[in-house]
Symmetry: C2
């Protein structure tokens, strides 16, 4: 049912946790299942490069795996580049997800966008 | 949104894992969100007491917390007593769950029943 990459990122999630005094924080909820996701970004004010990125979620394994992969994919990118990391790209990097779990994967993309907006609003 | 007990069992799940050569195994799926849950039981053939109980799930934090609590509640009980551990009792032991997450908590009860049936069918 799940690809090896999904199981790997579910069982050994990368970048799970919090960032104290984060430059941007985004919290989103999933209306379909009631789960929540929060992304923390540490952004360099000069270069606009994402130096660190962490996530916390109450969501399912698919939400954990996509957030783990998405945080890896935006790390080291500029804000502009990170805005272009789509949910589709994250799912492809994970070798796909069953259709019933696609809504879970949207949490990561939405929370990253929310965190980037949070940073932009403060500057 | 979540009680302290739910957060505790979500962040430090008890009895997560597998039992090799389990006496009974129950696997159930959640049609609403597509999640899966598996419960392993080690049952004493003489006394019918549950000596060990482990779970694995791809489900969300509510599924993890209820399974963690449910496995603790059936441990050391007889099959007959374990059949009477309801989803309602597990939720009460966790100081409740938001209504939108109640369907997630059903996975644990259903998987325990399935594992008890699996044992009964083999004997
Ligand atoms: S079912 Fe809610 S995040 Fe996957």
């Amino acid at each position: 049912m799940y690809s090896e990459k999904v199981m790997d990122h579910f069982q050994h999630p990368r970048n799970m946790g919090e960032i104290e005094d984060a430059s941007g924080v985004g919290t989103v909820g999933n209306a379909k299942c009631g789960d929540i996701m929060r992304i923390y970004l540490d952004i360099d004010d000069e270069s606009h490069i994402i130096r660190d990125c962490k996530f916390k979620t109450f969501g399912c394994g698919a939400a954990v795996a996509t957030s783990s992969m998405a945080t890896e994919m935006v790390m080291g990118k500029t804000i502009e580049e990170a805005m272009e990391v789509t949910n589709k790209a994250v799912m492809e990097a994970l070798d796909g997800l069953p259709p019933v779990k696609v809504h879970c994967s949207l949490l990561a993309e939405e929370a990253i966008h929310a965190a980037l907006w949070d940073y932009a609003e403060k500057h």
